[in-house]
Symmetry: C2
Subunit: 148 residues, 2 copies
């Protein structure tokens, strides 16, 4: 559940550029998010940080770091189908708004599809568009196999 680790310097400068202190907690959480291949929930992040042979990060601190990353624009927060929040790193330059996701109803995993996002439908008068998310549900190959 882990991709190649992102350069530490990039993570640190991104945090510094946001105008905040560079702390181990922020660096490790943002690095973990950037290394992840799919949006992670709080428990998953906590688990992957626990395997790092470094002092564990407090549950509350993790929540606060995640919220700070979101308010700083370095991460995104969205509730999944089970109602728990999942966090994903914002790409340094490539903003992936309108990203197309596939959500497995078996294991709860989220997969990013390569398909181009569909056009935004016309909104009624007075509505202000914030963003669009296409959520495709079903079962991932592993759950399809396990389910039969």
């Amino acid at each position: 559940m882990k991709a190649s680790a992102p350069p530490l310097a990039e993570v640190q400068s991104a945090i510094r550029a946001a105008g905040a202190r560079v702390t181990p907690a922020r660096v490790r959480v943002l690095a973990a998010l950037r290394a992840a291949t799919a949006p992670q929930c709080h428990a998953e992040i906590e688990e992957s940080l626990a395997q790092e042979a470094q002092p564990a990060i407090d549950r509350v601190t993790l929540y606060r770091v995640l919220d700070w990353l979101c308010s700083a624009g370095l991460a995104h927060k969205a509730a999944d189908a089970r109602g728990v929040f999942r966090f994903s790193a914002a790409q340094p330059n490539v903003e992936h708004a309108g990203h197309v996701h596939f959500r497995c109803t078996g294991c709860g995993g989220v997969f990013c599809l390569k398909a181009p996002p569909p056009p935004v439908p016309a909104l009624p008068r007075g509505f202000r568009l914030g963003g669009m998310a296409v959520d495709i549900r079903g079962e991932c190959p592993r759950c399809v196999r396990a389910h039969s």
Copy 2:
């Protein structure tokens, strides 16, 4: 937050047709869902039922009735942006799968758009499609006004 009350007989026969006992709790909850103009969360349903001058329905019973309605295909369950489940009545005949929703980031309300759902993108090999939901976020007219 209430539209015209749906005919009670329809609600009762829908429940009976699902092969289950017709109980006051189920009738009242389904009637409340059908009368609502937007997906309701548990607390909102509880509140609207409390104004009915009838014995209150237990919190747990309400959860169980809602889950049963979903498994019976009479209602839909989806997590909103805040991570809480919202329930909506399934139309008696018109199944609105692939419905396009607009979700207000200000008040948490959900609005149904008339726009036709976009086509489903091609899935990678091995994935099994369950359904698709298009989620458009932004601010509703009221929140746009209140926000400035």
